[in-house]
Each structure stands twice: as structure tokens, then as C-alpha cells.
């Protein structure tokens, strides 16, 4: 029930964001500051989610597993900063995670 409620509410809200500017002319040209804040709120939420996900994975992990996660993220960040697309970043990160995990557990 909770899942349906959340999905329908976010779905309806998202559709409203999509459809209203197409019918209400004054919303079709939001002030630059509103546009900026909207973009930054999204990016900040995603950064917080990424951090929460990392924290969850490393909370009960041993040192080799934590090292593998950190190494994967550092490599992923470096590859993403160079302008690589998502598949490349994910593959580079997962490959690093596996390689460092194997090395750290073997050491």
C-alpha cells in the first residue's frame, strides 16, 4: 500500500512537472534562479543518496571490502570526470572492485 502510494504520488507529481509548462505559458520561462535551485536540489539529493548507499555497504564490511568499494568509487569518479559515459564508468568501477577485492583478500 505504501509502495503504491509513493509510486502514484511521485508519478503524478512528475507528470505535473512535465505537463504544466506545456499549457501554462508563464511557467514555461522560469526565472534563472529557480532553474538553478531546481537543478542543484536534484544533484544534492543524488549526492546524498550515493553517500548513503556507500555508507550502507561499508558499515559492516571488513577492511578489504571497504578498500574495494573506495577504490571502485575513486576510479569511477576519475573516469566520469574525464567525460566517460555511464556504461564505461560502471564497468571500470566494478572491474576495480573485483580486482582490489581479490588482491586485498589474497594479501
Amino acid at each position: 500500500m505504501n509502495t503504491w502510494l509513493a509510486v502514484l504520488a511521485v508519478g503524478l507529481g512528475s507528470y505535473t512537472f512535465r505537463v504544466v509548462p506545456l499549457f501554462v505559458p508563464w511557467i514555461a520561462s522560469p526565472p534563472p534562479r529557480v532553474e538553478r535551485v531546481v537543478t542543484r536540489a536534484g544533484a544534492a539529493s543524488l549526492a546524498a543518496l550515493a553517500v548513503a548507499s556507500i555508507r550502507r555497504q561499508t558499515a559492516h564490511a571488513d577492511l578489504p571490502d571497504t578498500t574495494a568499494v573506495v577504490a571502485a568509487l575513486v576510479v569511477g569518479l576519475l573516469v566520469a570526470r574525464r567525460g566517460a559515459r555511464m556504461p564505461t564508468v560502471v564497468l571500470a568501477g566494478i572491474a576495480t572492485h573485483i580486482a582490489v577485492g581479490l588482491l586485498a583478500h589474497g594479501a
Binding site: 508519478g11 512528475s14 505537463v19 506545456l22 539529493s45 550515493a50 574495494a68
Partner: protein
């Protein structure tokens, strides 16, 4: 004879138009398929999250209804963490609020379109469909041609994306690789990186990450909203400091 000539011209013109529209349709399909390839890992990661818990139907329905990978992932992760309903919905909407600006930028181009087209097409506006639509608009052509391109591209994108996420939901629980867990923050990282190119953007992301790290124990997933608020405030403060 002139009548026959005119009729022939009309037939030729409408034949050419139909051919052009078919070419636009084909271009739209190809553009969407090419773009979809790049989204396969993200779709499979979201699919694995969809398939990880119940209720499966509601979680599968979130793909076409929310139609935004990052918002969908946030909603499902927060639900799995036992987040309060208002925070789950607030976070999902905060992430998808950018759609307002996408839709606003398409409004002038679609101003002459029928109400039905706008109502249906609105449901398919998301980062890749918006980007491909802008790219197609830059090449010019009639509205009919651009509409044909958009209809084909958006249909393939929505159906393809929903199919890939569903595939991830089906195979995700079977493919229990620890290394796949790291794919979630990696996907989120890729979405955040473009914001690091400006000082205010980077400062906002850093603030959100710090607050997010410190607030993981905050009740019912409120850490994400606190972090988002901190990110926006810090970015705005730095924006005022940056010399113009």
C-alpha cells in the same frame, strides 16, 4: 490536363511527405536504440532494486509511472530503508523537479501541437528524450517531421527502458554479485559529476555529501532531504561569493 497534372503533383508530394515521415520515424527509432545501449547498466541496477523486495507489481509500475531512473531509485531505496512517506515522496519530487525546466524548454516548439499530443508526449519527457528532441530541433524541418521523430524515439525509449528495468528485476535476484552493489553509487556518481564543473555546483554537492554521510542515522530517511537542503544553501552562498 492541368487538373491531371496537379493531381499527379499532389500525389507525388504526399508520397514524398509520407516517405519523409517514415524516414523521421526510422531515425527516431535508431536514435533511441543507440541511446538505450548507454543506459543498460543503470536500468539493470534499478531493475535489481525493483526485484529485491515486494510488492513486485507496484515496484514494476514505478518504471513507466515515475519515468526517471534516479527518482525511481531514490524512492525504492528510501522505501526499503523504512523512510517516512512524506520524505520518500518529497525526495522523488525534488529529483524530478528538473523536468519543469525540460518541459519549459520544449513548450515553444510544441506550442502549435494538438492538446492530445502535448498531453501524451508530456508523459515521456525525461533526460534522453529531451536531449534527442533538442538535437533534432536544431536540425530544423517541419513540425510534422519533428513530431514523427519524437513519437518514434520516445515510444522506443519508454518501452525499451521499461523492458530493461523489468529484465533487471527478473535476473537481479538470481545474479547475486557483491560487486553489483557498487554499481548503484557509481550510477549516481555519473549523474552528479556534471555539477562539479562550477564552484557553486561542486560546493553544493560536497555539502550534500557531507551532510548525507553524517545524517544516515537521521530518522526515516530524512537525511537525504537535509542533505539536499544543505547542498542548495551552500551552492547559493558560494554563488554570491563568485565574482561576475
Amino acid at each position: 490536363m492541368p487538373v491531371a497534372h496537379d493531381a499527379g503533383m499532389t500525389t507525388t508530394r504526399s508520397h514524398e511527405t509520407a516517405t519523409d515521415l517514415r524516414a523521421e520515424w526510422r531515425d527516431g527509432v535508431v536514435a533511441a536504440l543507440t541511446m538505450l545501449v548507454g543506459f543498460v547498466p543503470f536500468a539493470l541496477v534499478i531493475g535489481a532494486t525493483v526485484g529485491a523486495h515486494g510488492p513486485v507489481v507496484a515496484r514494476l509500475a514505478s518504471t513507466p509511472l515515475v519515468l526517471g531512473g534516479s527518482a525511481q531509485l531514490a524512492v525504492l531505496e528510501l522505501l526499503d530503508d523504512g523512510g517516512a512517506m512524506a520524505l520518500v515522496i518529497g525526495t522523488g519530487l525534488a529529483i524530478n523537479a528538473r523536468l519543469l525546466t525540460y518541459s519549459a524548454s520544449l513548450a515553444p516548439e510544441w506550442a502549435g501541437a494538438s492538446r492530445r499530443f502535448r498531453l501524451v508526449a508530456a508523459a515521456t519527457i525525461i533526460d534522453p528524450t529531451w536531449a534527442l528532441s533538442r538535437e533534432r530541433a536544431a536540425r530544423g524541418g517541419s513540425f510534422e517531421a519533428r513530431r514523427s521523430f519524437y513519437a518514434a524515439m520516445a515510444s522506443v525509449m519508454v518501452l525499451g527502458w521499461t523492458g530493461l528495468v523489468s529484465l533487471g528485476a527478473a535476473i537481479g535476484p538470481a545474479v547475486d554479485l557483491a560487486a553489483m552493489d557498487v554499481a548503484v553509487p557509481l550510477c549516481l556518481l555519473v549523474l552528479v559529476v556534471p555539477n562539479l564543473t562550477t564552484r557553486p555546483g561542486a560546493a553544493g554537492v560536497a555539502a550534500a555529501a557531507l551532510v548525507g554521510w553524517g545524517a544516515t542515522a537521521a530518522p526515516a530517511g530524512s537525511g537525504v532531504l537535509l542533505a539536499a537542503l544543505a547542498g542548495v544553501l551552500v551552492a547559493e552562498l558560494v554563488e554570491r561569493q563568485v565574482p561576475r
